[in-house]
């Protein structure tokens, strides 16, 4: 048992370490580019709201949405698609054959990805506050941090779940991901509150953890914010349930993938 736990932890650390270390050595230009690109996209929507003379609150909403966008992109392109990419590079079969559990590998990816995204998200937020003179209020920093972390855990649970699906369906899922990226960003309320969709539609899009997480954070960070869907405490509870459910499904799917790979020699070979 102790050996299994040690192997799990060492695998997770090893996979996460690459992403953490890479930020400051190999991937510095990628970091700068994604921060600049993310900021420019956020700026588009800030200027858009200013062009239609929307209240300044909407600029703050876009800012918080822009803060969470790197996490969503990281979940989609660095967690959900990761196993597919490992297969295309020829690494997946080696990973499967090793004694390291696949779930530890994905956990390391997740933690490393969170670290990567946090650097980007914080820089984008700070630049946005400075350039657009947006003010946020923090009544209790620890509540904000806990809500934020729970939102992330639920969101990355979705990513881990989809990583198995991407492996099953390969190129088709990659296409679906690229076409789904923008609609999910819109539906999640990155650019505007989900309350605008109406109660029924907002309930449906709430299945995306990002939408509830954003709604909760906006309630905690914007003064006199009234465009919320549900009270943030209810949203946090729902996010905790989502986190548990998605993580459970992700682990079951990953175990199934490992079984198919080892028993039937499917899914892990390049161009299969």
């Amino acid at each position: 048992m102790k050996k299994h736990v040690e192997l799990f932890v060492r695998t997770a650390i090893a996979r996460g370490y690459v992403r953490v270390k890479g930020q400051f050595t190999r991937d510095v230009n990628w970091l700068i580019a994604s921060v600049v690109g993310g900021f420019l996209t956020m700026a588009t929507y800030v200027y858009l709201y200013r062009s239609i003379q929307a209240p300044e609150e909407f600029s703050a909403m876009v800012l918080i949405g822009g803060f969470m966008t790197p996490y969503w992109l990281n979940v989609l392109w660095s967690v959900a698609v990761q196993l597919y990419w490992e297969k295309e590079m020829g690494n997946l079969q080696i990973i499967i054959l090793s004694p390291a559990p696949l779930s530890a590998f994905l956990l390391g990816l997740t933690i490393g990805g969170m670290f990567q995204s946090t650097i980007r998200a914080v820089i984008i937020l700070l630049i946005g506050i400075f350039v657009f003179k947006v003010s946020l209020v923090i009544y209790n920093i620890w509540v904000v941090v806990v809500v934020f972390l729970i939102s992330l855990c639920a969101l990355y649970g979705v990513g881990m779940m989809f990583s198995s699906l991407f492996l099953f369906y390969g190129r088709e899922m990659w296409r679906v991901a690229s076409i789904a990226q923008e609609p999910v960003s819109i539906a999640s309320g990155i650019y505007f509150p989900i309350k605008l969709f109406g109660r029924v539609a907002a309930s449906v899009v709430s299945l995306i953890p990002l939408s509830l997480g954003l709604d909760a954070l906006r309630q905690l960070l914007l003064k006199d914010y009234e465009l919320y869907f549900l009270n943030w405490k209810v949203e946090v509870l729902i996010l905790v349930v989502m986190w548990v459910v998605f993580t459970f499904i992700a682990i079951r799917l990953l175990n199934y993938v490992e079984q198919i790979a080892k028993r039937e020699a499917r899914l892990t070979l390049r161009w299969q």
């Binding site: 990628w30 580019a33 420019l40 200027y47 190129r171 076409i179 650019y191």
Partner: protein, 274 residues
């Protein structure tokens, strides 16, 4: 030979984009692809702005649709170098073949452009009746705007393809910056006149921005916002054509320089396990 190569590359472009699924499903994919752009315009301008009958809504709607075609063409054509070198590993074979690589890229761009255009057309079939849009459509001007717009987008694609030929890593970070920057100054979602000083000036002369505005002009017979309003049509047309032609010329020159440099340095078959 050039025509044969062009037709072959158009065919390859369509196949690369579509052969991952059945043709009917791909048609559905084409239909749904631009919907996110349409949706966001509807929500922001329709519910938060001045409603579905306002000039600003039409401005953003048709701006987004035009942007979708031109940006899709630009990004996908520029990325072709990485696709061919890293994923399909055929770049060196294409270069040593009798087809000029620029002709091949042109074919890939035309194929992508055609597919995006089909997607937009499918959506226009429901947009016009649902939103009850009145237009003063000029077919000739529309064809000119789309054609010259493609030229400008292709020129930009060549410029960034030249960068990718010399960057021997699957370097997609530049695309992140381009995507955000292009969206900001394109004038697709809002009039660039609200941008601060220098950005507004850049947007006035940027090829894709002028192409999008010309497309809107061809559909509505006038400018819908202060962007280019007050500018004589001849001056507007001059800026539009010259900016896109310059984009093509700069792209061609830079691409030729980059391609010969990449061949000399042996970059055309370098792959990255990254």
């Amino acid at each position: 030979m050039a025509m044969k190569g062009l037709i072959a590359s158009i065919y390859i472009s369509i196949q690369v984009e579509s052969n991952w699924t059945k043709k009917f499903l791909y048609l559905l994919y084409l239909f749904f692809a631009p919907l996110s752009s349409i949706l966001i315009v509807c929500i922001i301008y329709g519910f938060l702005g001045q409603g579905f009958n306002s000039p600003s809504f039409y401005f953003a709607l048709f701006g987004s649709l035009s942007y979708f075609i031109l940006a899709d063409t630009f990004f996908n054509t520029a990325y072709t170098v990485i696709d061919d070198r890293e994923h399909y590993r055929v770049l060196k074979y294409i270069i040593v073949s009798k087809t000029y690589y620029i002709v091949y890229l042109l074919g890939r761009g035309i194929g992508k452009f055609a597919l995006s255009f089909v997607g937009i057309t499918l959506n226009l079939l429901w947009i016009f009746p649902v939103f009850n849009i009145d237009t003063h459509f000029s077919l000739i001007l529309f064809v000119i705007s789309i054609g010259v717009g493609f030229v400008g987008a292709f020129g930009l694609a060549l410029l960034f393809s030249s960068y990718y030929l010399l960057a021997i890593r699957e370097e997609t970070s530049l695309l992140d910056v381009l995507f955000g920057g292009l969206y900001l100054i394109s004038g697709a979602m809002f009039s660039p006149t609200v941008l601060p000083g220098i950005l507004s000036k850049i947007a006035s002369y940027f090829p894709i921005s002028t192409a999008i505005e010309m497309t809107r002009f061809s559909i509505f017979g006038g400018h819908l916002t202060p962007y280019f309003q007050g500018t004589p049509f001849s001056q507007f047309m001059f800026i539009f054509i010259v900016s896109n032609i310059i984009s093509l010329l700069v792209g061609l020159v830079m691409f030729e320089i980059a391609l010969s440099s990449a061949i000399k340095k042996g970059y055309i078959d370098v792959t990255t396990a990254f």
